[in-house]
Amino acid sequence: MIVHHILGVDGQFPLLYLIWLLPLFGAILLWAFGPQLKSLAGPIGSALIGTAFVASLVEWGLATQAVGTNGAMLYGAHMSVLTWTKGFDFGLLWDRLSLTWTLIITGVGFLIHVYSIGYMNGERAFARFFAYLNFFVFAMLTLVLSDNFVGLLVGWGLVGLASYFLIGFYFDRPSAVAASRKAFVINVVGDVGILYAVFLIVSKIGSIAYGDAFAAAQSGFTPGELTTICIALFIGCAAKSAQVPLHTWLPDAMEGPTPVSALIHAATMVTAGVYLIARCWPFWVNSPDARALVGAIGAITALTGAVLGIAQWDIKRILAYSTMSQIGYMIMGVGVGAFDAGVLHFLTHAFFKAQLFLGAGIIIHNLSNEQDIRKMGGLRKQMPFAFAAILVGVLAICGIPPFSGFFSKDAVLYETLVHGHPWLYAIGALTAGLTAYYMFRLLFVTFFGTYRGDVDPSSLGIRHPELAGVHAPHDENAHTEHAHAPAWLMSVPVAILMVPATLIGFLYLGGRESVWVKFFAPVFNTGSESAATPILSELASTLLVLAVVLVGIAVAYIRYARAGFFANPIERLRLESIRMPAPLTNALYFDLAIDYLVVKPTQLFGKVCARIIDPIVIDGAVREVSLSASWLGHLFRSFQTGLVRAYAFVIVFGVACFAAYYAIAGGVH
């Protein structure tokens, strides 16, 4: 008997199929007929996603209507799609959590699609790009709409694949190829973690459905098993959401086109971990160990991301580390049990980070793929729109009220206190300051001062100009065509994004009594566990964080926006580049450690097997056998001398043996 009572009622919502499959249809269409569609591919792909977004809204309404707005508030839909075998039933799930994600995926996705029409205009593989994007949306929807762990895992894997495709979109570029592989493999590590959790769940309850699993969360598992499940699931989250130590793929993933970074590696896919934890809240609620662990790792990630963000010069890598850091916040939030706060941060982050990336994309696009902020400067006047976009994003991410980030970050930080983790709070607050510092650093260095694009790279301290940032042109012919792209295609989505990036935080206005919390109250039915009174009141916490943020901004201002900097920015940047501490330039040696602790030993093992055990030990033994057979063959051949006497001798020898046997045998009787 499959139980769905926690997650919703069975119902028929045919529109769900449309939402889910429309992007897949788009992907196949664009992939198969890309060459024929040519530049139509972009609009078609965007339109499909847009339709899906509208459909989601309609479906939201329909679902609300169907379930009614009565006190139960349990609206949702389960539809049986497939059955593999007993216990392996597949269906779609439509509840508030998946709704939230669906709206972001299709909504922000739609905007980024539109943006991409401009950004990718003139690329040779234009249609393929949109096919991948559509495929990504499909995969992400699979992930969030699935009503069971395996369906989630399928989506989980497919988004990884889409991410792989898009990171490696410029597949003739070795760095992109390497980055895509790294991303995929690390993500598979995550998949494997989830797989393990699935095994455990299936073996205990014989079903993969969320409903069955969560129903059993309280009593169906031993605490140890529950912790194991949570940790295994979290391995998946860590890989997908770039948590320490599985985060190293994310900065490299910036090899992909900027819209991809915005959609996949900022707004949606990397937050899948947050979704998973939020979705599996019954497990977390019942497993304090997992909460502590996940919260801690979230905090560490947040800090690590911020620290590494300080040292970057590549605009996309700065944003990537900031993404990592922000996801750290989310994970910290959902990890400690503040599910709605974490999800809120996901929501606001989706907007402002998309905003930031798209803004950065405009810059990069206009500077012919220049990504190093040292070579920028003074862009405020050249690209006022981009400046505005980035400014809004920076203010939001730094948590300056009333921008959206303020509400969500504040909520997360305060909830950590509420759930009794003052250390996490401290780390979070520190990170907020660091975030403010490096984001404003980005802002100042990029937009203030004078333009440095024509300065010799080495004088800026850029050691390997060919390696710093990605300069390889997308396509030799593309440049000339860029000019023809209508500018509004890129600016309108950014402009639209600015609205939620600024305002969406107000959903949380009122804290526990806010619209947001009420909206999710039926989902995160955590009961009223008001734990220890926090050591700070909400207001105090907010003010403290704001103070730290302001300190960060101040430091950034002092270092990069004052006369001392503008006096000789080139020399200042050069010195800073050279004097950057080695641990920071080497990203805290995470890559190195993984290389030496995991990759190299595995390869060594493989080489030992391939070069020693297989050919020498196993094959050697076989070869010895066959060689001795052939040696024996030749030996017998050499006995056959052709001399009659020798033959007679052999026969007499045989006779002697026979005679010996029969002499003895005859004596026995």
Binding site: G633, F636, Q640, Y647, F658, A663
Partner: protein, 478 residues
Amino acid sequence: MNPTFANAVTAPDVAALLPTFIVAGTALVVLFFDFFAPKSARRWLAIGLSILGLIVSAVMTAHQYGHPVVAFSGAYLVGGFSVIFSEITIVATIISLLLTLGVGRDDQIAGSSALVLWSTTGAMLMSGAGNLMMIFLGIELLSLGLYCLCGMSLRSTARESALKYLILSSMASGFMLYGMALLFGATGSVSLAALASAHVGALFAMGVGLFLIGIAFKLSLVPFHVWTPDVYEGAPLTVTAYMSIVTKAGVLAVLARIAYAALPAESATMLLVPVWAVAGLSMIVGNLAALAQTDLKRLLAYSGIAQVGYIVAAFAGRTDYGLRYAMLYFAVYLFMNLGAFGVLALMSRDGETGPQLASFTGLAYRRPWLAGAMTFFLLSLAGLPPTGGFTAKILLLASTTSAGYVWLALLLILGTAISVYVYFKIVRIMFVRADEAHVRDERGPNFTPWIGIAVCAAAVFVLCFYPLTPSDVLPAIK
């Protein structure tokens, strides 16, 4: 009191002997008609008459099946068991004669046919022999003809083979004879029936031992196999083909009779262990030695050593199944081996020497049917489906394991595994794509072997799916 000449021969005796004597008599007829035959017809006449006589004999032999007769005071036993071996002998002779049709000199054809027929007579006598004298005479009749057949060619290797065969075989006959003498001494009688009820003493054991040496020699079991490769290689191809079956047929019959009926039951196992041992040894050594061969006839000689090892191993345990499947396997061996020899005959330029391995290069693309036939026979020799070799081998395995001789079954498997390499070496080279300019396409003198090949292939195929295993074949001595 003394049996007189008049009642020494009765009508049933003559009837029992008739098929055998028809073969012998045919030889005389062939020789006789050869004087009058026109030159162009000598060949056809000789072979045709021989085959005719053999067919008549085969039919008559078949009629004896199921009617055991003890003829000539126990000297000759016909009926169930010997019929099978006699038929195998006759069929082998017919097929060999078919191969012979295009080979050799016109003026020798009648003589050689006669010798073949007499050798066949010897083998048939052996399969029915009821006493030691008959065994000895049968072997000698068989062998003497073969010495001559081997040496008849003008090639020096043929004569060398004859010399080697003669010397070594006579020596082995000597051992066998001495063994018989000791057996006579131990029992006071030469009849096999007396052996069965004899007291097993030292003399008896030694007699059996020396006798079995002779058997092992004729069956070319290791280490008494040394003559086989040289003689097979040197002898004319058709003689080799003939010899590879017919000698074994007669001697296997003798061995079966000895093993199953003519030894005291309580000590038979002990007395026969060396035979099983040399059979096991033959499987391995024969196949190993064949690994290194490039002359096809020689290779088949070694393979024959191993194959006989399989057959003899089936006697181990002396079960009904063992004999039955040994005979089945031997029948299959007859067809697959002669089929292979038929292919060799088509590949041999002078019809006498065996082709070298290299001349098979790319045969599958030059003469696909011939290559297909050869592949088929080799598959059978290796015990692979869809051939009689497969079914017969699995039945051999079944009987050997059920008799409790698992070690022999394992050796059989091991030997077969080695033999796969041996046989597939040929298959491989036939399918290798070669630079055809370097391969001389050797073609045999005529196409008559195709008849033999077709018969053999059909038989091998049919025996896979319809393995004839006659019942009531346990050898009798009375």
